[in-house]
Amino acid sequence: MTRQFKWDSGIGLLGLLLLFVGSYIGLFVAPSERYMGEVQRIMYVHVPCAWNAMLVYMLAFIFAIISLWTHRPKWDAATTAAAEVGIVLNSLLLVQGSIWARATWGVWWDWDVRLTTSLIMLLLFAGVLALRSFVHDASRRATWTAIATIVAFVDVPLVYFCVRWWRSLHQVQSTPDTVAPMMVVPLRINAFAILFIAIWMMTQRARLELDRRRQDQVSEPERLAPIGGSNNA
């Protein structure tokens, strides 16, 4: 237990450290972008959050399939943890996206493909956790969480293509045309930083879920002594 505790806090701390380093480079070392100016620096947290949110949702999907297959509590805990951490990253993503929209287009919200998709994604997975909170029986809760996670994740690509078609007359994704090496470095560092932090969060959340589940696992009562004599078979 204590050894386990060490590895995940280690990863968490490493992530934190990397986040400081990456953000420092992103904020103060990397050059400002030609058109976006300083605002482009938001990308150094925004893009890693986006990558990791997708990654964590995908983990939730994979864990959900395993959980449905094996019915093991640990996979249910992993599914829940991944869905919840995904929601946290997704929320951050939306706020950063909104700030980005404000800074570049002058509005707090734009029906951009990625922004819209991530909002719908957030609602999808929030629904999963809402459903979960209403089910009392532990094994049914696990099954239903897994099912809802699978159903929600399969929708993500559909939503993405749909929004893209829906917004067919819409500006091409703005890609910075001068990518200095000093822009790639903080992006990569922060991507790993957020990944490590997400892993730490997922392990903590999964442990919490397993502890809760363990609390319910009362062992079978002692066998009661049979009563009566001659009639007993």
Partner: protein
């Protein structure tokens, strides 16, 4: 074969129940009509605006009515736990799922002949017979797409205290592709389709329906493993 027979028995039973309880169908229809009316107040008496939004309003009326119909279809099952009576029989859960989904699809299709004329009149839209036929086809695809995850989630939430909140919460974000596809394609039918884009939207609706009919059919037996 046996699977299809069982599914059709479930559909027959559901249609009979729907027919006997006409009040339910009529209430859901009235609800749809009322929403159509309310939408026109939200936009105001500007007929150009209304005409442009007619397709969207029509699909929203379908979507809002669908949750009522879906939760109703399982309230009947839970009233005297008839669903448990079905689960105790040697019925394949997959047959049960497809039976319920098919009858829910048919129920939603029944809304079209009432809601479409009301929308055409209220929003003063002209539509020829061919357009009407295409619209019904799109409506069918949308109904099938809504019913597949809708039946799964309606079954899962049918014994939870807050089904009324939970079902739309789960279903609405999920069926956004259906909503967008149906709104875009039906609007094109109503306002003209110069670039003939209806086909690709119909393809989107069809692929959503196919994906979720298969996926939810696979998942439903797990969902009811320990009863509902």
């Amino acid at each position: 074969m046996n699977l299809i027979g069982q599914a059709l028995t479930v559909v027959r039973k559901d249609l009979l129940l729907e027919w006997r309880g006409k009040g339910r169908l009529i209430s859901v229809l009235m609800f749809g009509v009322v929403t159509l009316l309310l939408f026109s107040f939200a936009v105001g008496p500007d007929s150009t605006l209304l005409r442009a939004a007619a397709g969207g309003f029509l699909v929203l009326a379908l979507l809002l009515s669908s949750t009522l119909g879906l939760s109703e279809s399982f309230r009947v099952e839970q009233e005297q736990r008839a669903i448990e009576g079905l689960l105790l029989l040697p019925v394949d859960p997959i047959a049960l799922y497809y039976g319920k989904t098919l009858s829910n699809t048919l129920f939603l299709m029944l809304l079209a002949p009432v809601l479409t004329p009301v929308a055409l009149i209220l929003y003063s839209v002209q539509l020829d017979l061919k357009g009407l036929a295409v619209l019904l086809g799109l409506w069918t695809l949308a109904a099938a797409g809504l019913s597949a995850p809708g039946t799964l989630y309606a079954a899962m939430t049918s014994r939870l205290q807050s089904q009324d909140v939970l079902l739309p919460l789960l279903l609405f974000p999920l069926v956004i592709p259906v909503l967008m596809g149906a709104v875009k394609s039906i609007t094109l039918i109503l306002t003209g389709d110069p670039m003939s884009q209806v086909g690709s939207w119909a393809a989107l609706l069809a692929s959503f329906a196919i994906i979720y009919w298969s996926l939810c059919g696979l998942l439903f037996p797990h969902a009811i493993e320990e009863g509902i």
